[in-house]
């Protein structure tokens, strides 16, 4: 059990280092997704399966897709057609090896570990939900207001305003 934790932790650290030191933004984003997946495995090992699922769904699924969309829209880090370079083994052998090790780690951790030796030690999603909507109800409403403000702000900032300039004021 501890070995699984150490493997996932080392994959998290290695992929984070690769993510913040890479030159190509897309490659760094994929390394960051790998780092988030390994953190999700760590959450599973920490008896928080609900948080592990949320980490995969929201962080690696939604937020990173936003990042990748913007990076591809801006078209940075892609000078020319570099597909031939990407298909060399040196480009994808390290991330795919790390991802394979992480997958093997997760499968072994699921199959070889007895499911929750005593149920009252694991915090179930039911307890989390009850606590979320009773003790922290005000905070949930504040988070809802924050999400609303985020939607409006992102819409306002993302809209392209057409610049109207008088023709005498246009500088060449």
């Amino acid at each position: 059990m501890n070995t699984f934790f150490y493997i996932a932790a080392s994959i998290a650290i290695i992929s984070t280092i690769m993510a913040i030191s890479g030159r190509n933004a897309i490659h760094s984003l994929l390394f960051l997704i790998l780092s988030l997946l390994s953190v999700s495995v760590i959450f599973y090992l920490l008896d928080a399966p609900f948080i592990a699922a949320l980490e995969v769904i929201i962080y690696a699924g939604a937020i990173m897709v936003l990042f990748i969309f913007v990076t591809m829209m801006l078209n940075i880090g892609m000078e020319g057609r570099t597909e031939k370079k990407w298909l060399r083994p040196g480009m994808w052998i390290i991330p795919s090896l790390l991802a394979a090790v992480l997958l093997a780690d997760f499968i072994l951790a699921i199959t070889h570990v007895p499911v929750s030796p005593s149920v009252d030690q694991v915090i179930l999603p039911k307890q989390v939900g009850i606590s979320l909507f009773s003790t922290y109800l005000l905070a949930v409403e504040i988070a809802a207001i924050l999400l609303m403000a985020g939607v409006i702000g992102a819409y306002h900032l993302g809209s392209q305003k057409k610049k109207i300039t008088h023709r005498f004021l246009i500088k060449n």
Binding site: M1, T16, L46, A48, I76
Partner: protein
């Protein structure tokens, strides 16, 4: 049953936070700076989950859910800002966006 000492778990979160901080300070590309902030958010949430496991309370996981919501809003706003900056300045270099700086 995970018997890794809690110090090592906290240390892992600290290492990830430090890596994010280093990335934020070293990189000048705005996409990379935002990614580093994501790493820092994630490690902060990991500390909450570790503490929630240590005391067997659901509060840590509740806090992680709030961190998730805050992160989603922050990413959406920051990416919209990055798009605007790219349209105005045609670059993502954070050092070149210094129109508010004093000229002395």
């Amino acid at each position: 049953m995970l018997t890794v000492p809690v110090e090592i778990q906290i240390m892992l979160a600290g290492i990830l936070f430090l890596l994010g901080l280093i990335g934020l300070l070293v990189r000048r590309n705005m996409i990379f700076m935002l990614m580093s902030i994501e790493v820092m958010f994630n490690s902060a949430g990991m500390v909450f989950v570790i503490a929630g496991k240590q005391w067997r309370q659901p509060d840590g996981q509740v806090m992680f859910i709030f961190i998730l919501a805050v992160t989603a809003v922050e990413v959406a706003i920051a990416l919209a800002l990055i798009l605007q900056v790219y349209h105005h300045f045609k670059t993502l270099d954070a050092d070149s966006v210094n129109k508010l700086r004093d000229s002395n």
